[in-house]
Symmetry: C2
Subunit: 64 residues, 2 copies
DNA sequence: CCGCAATGTAAAAAATATATTACATTTTAT
DNA sequence: ATAAAATGTAATATATTTTTTACATTGCGG
């Protein structure tokens, strides 16, 4: 599973830390997700999608 | 978080057990999800969405 | 170049999802 | 009405995500 979190986060000009606080996780969680280290919970995926101003989860998370 | 798993599963006329095996989890996992008992992983949410012939995760899982 | 902000990384703990097993209840078909 | 299938539920075990803490590296503004 890949993600466009980093790409969209940079478009919005926010840091990992800022995104993390918007979605109420730690910076390390965002960092690991950006690097595709695991599979987030649906709720987290959803919050991140909204924080990045996208409408579909699939816009941000690309499944294999 | 609510889900339409049950509704769509019945439309497709498949059992919890069949859906479970399609997405490679146990029946109890499907059962608990149908009852909104927790928050699945993104990958599982995605597999279920596809197994139910929907295209967006948000078609199946309704966030609050 | 220097210093600070942002990011990468890693180990261990905590929290949560999923599996396993087993049994009870409800639904469906005959 | 009965049997079989489907679903509900619960306890414990295992796996995975997320946190915490701490430090290292990279990148950027002055």
């Amino acid at each position: 599973m890949k993600t466009k979190i980093r790409e969209f986060r940079k478009e919005q000009k926010i840091t990992q830390e800022e995104l993390a606080s918007m979605v109420e996780v730690t910076r390390q969680t965002i960092n690991s997700l950006e690097q595709g280290k695991y599979n987030p919970s649906l709720e987290l995926a959803y919050k991140i999608t909204k924080a990045l101003n996208k409408n579909k989860i699939e816009d941000v998370f690309i499944m294999d």
